[in-house]
């Protein structure tokens, strides 16, 4: 199964939950950091990195001597990454989404495939778990293309034998967050009982509901704030599968880069129970959709 640990609001505890679930999972599992804009799972699971590679995306390279300024490429591109101005052909490689349409449509063969570096993919082992992460190149504006490259690598890592996957997703509800959760079997939404946590939890539920996957809520910092998050979950049919207490020892362990489940038997049991509940959410009528 593939579990995506997501949230609307950032800083609710996605990585805390991901790292602890990896630690107690008890079955073959790969931890994947898909928050490629600011990956941090490795700071907690401290993997031994076995390999790295750069990821690239195809962008058009123009041979202006062949261009007849017919504008077909310019009219096709929805992102204005290629433009014909009078008798000048301009490309804006950093704005290209890599669809390859301009190269295909050019009747003169004036466009060929070049590449733009997206970032780096690295992999290895963290204890018994496999580990995989992407790190976006500084200056790269789009994370979904690198996320797709990380997921392609993941398919290679999980192709031999039954292997579960825990995805540490980026926050928010825009393209990167959707890209991180759309291949999962179960989505955990980590939130906190504050107005901010509630507001963004609502957004996340709205954004992910059309994916038709089982969703559960983990309330982190339970004890602060109000009961509004619980009332919302009850009213909207979202099960709160775990509460992580607002506890100084957790903050201290986090600041040291420790995995919370490994700091006490009580926390360990809490995450083992969380893992059981996640597994029981898998299956049912919600099949896995390959995208």
């Amino acid at each position: 199964m593939i579990l995506a640990v997501a949230s609307g609001k950032g800083g609710t505890g996605k990585t805390t939950v991901s790292a602890s679930l990896l630690s107690v999972w008890g079955k073959p599992v790969v931890g994947v950091d898909l928050d490629v804009e600011e990956p941090n799972l490795h700071l907690f699971v401290r993997p031994e990195i076995a390999g790295r590679e750069k990821a690239f995306m195809e962008i058009p390279v123009a041979d202006e001597t062949k261009c007849t300024y017919c504008r077909q490429c310019s009219d096709l591109c929805q992102f204005k990454a290629i433009s014909v101005l009078g008798e000048v052909l301009l490309t804006f490689p950093e704005m290209c989404h890599g669809c390859g349409g301009c190269i295909s449509i050019c009747p003169e063969g004036a466009l060929s495939a070049g590449s733009r570096e997206l970032g780096e993919i690295s992999w290895g082992r963290a204890g018994k778990a496999g580990f995989l992460m992407g790190r976006l190149r500084v200056g790269e504006a789009m994370s979904p293309p690198l996320m797709r490259a990380v997921k392609e690598k993941l398919r290679g890592m999980t192709s031999h034998g039954a292997m579960d996957v825990i995805i540490d997703a980026p926050p928010g509800v825009s393209c990167p967050a959707i890209n991180a959760v759309m291949d999962s079997d179960v989505i955990l939404l980590v939130t906190e009982p504050t107005p901010f946590g509630l507001f963004d939890l609502k957004l996340a539920r709205q954004a992910f509901t059309p994916l038709n996957k089982p969703m559960g809520v983990v309330v982190n910092r339970a004890g602060v704030g109000t009961s509004d998050v619980y009332d919302y979950c009850k009213g909207s049919g979202l099960a709160v599968i775990a509460e992580i207490p607002y506890d100084r020892s957790i903050a201290e362990a986090y600041a040291r880069g420790s995995i919370i489940a490994e700091t006490s038997s009580g926390f360990r049991d809490m995450f083992i129970e969380m893992a059981h509940k996640v597994r029981s959410m898998n299956g049912g009528s919600h099949g896995r959709e390959e995208v």
Binding site: V84, G86, E94
Partner: protein, 122 residues
């Protein structure tokens, strides 16, 4: 004189200059000698997630205008306008279209050598 494209909030010589180039409501293409004009709507820019400045440069280039007067031009629009050989006068926001044209005709609008806005991603 060469035709001028001015970013504007409404299709009128008395309209305010729209300070934004790429996401302006539209452009008045003005003949500075006769003050005759035509209006080009830029409402389509609102649905573009990115590239509004480049699209605006395409619209202006196709209009035949050789000069742009506006408030702010970002780096990609600047590059595109420059590639099309269009001269750029920035900083004429807070004027009407007519006032901006008069000021240009009087030689009081400095032609830009670089953009005066950063891109969203830089």
């Amino acid at each position: 004189m060469e035709k001028i494209a001015i970013s504007c909030v409404e299709p009128s010589l008395d309209a305010d200059v729209d300070p934004r180039f790429g996401r302006a409501a539209g452009y008045l293409i003005v003949d500075p000698d006769s003050m005759e004009f035509e209006y080009l709507d830029n409402g389509g820019s609102q649905v573009l997630a990115q590239g509004a400045g480049i699209q605006a440069a395409e619209i202006v280039a196709r209009s035949g205008a050789r000069v742009v007067l506006t408030g702010f031009v970002g780096p990609k629009a600047f590059q595109a306008l420059s590639a099309a050989g269009i001269k750029i006068g920035q900083g004429v926001e807070n004027l009407t279209v007519k006032q901006a044209v008069e000021r240009y005709k009087a030689g009081q609008v400095e032609m830009a050598s670089q953009p005066n806005r950063k891109g969203h991603w830089s």
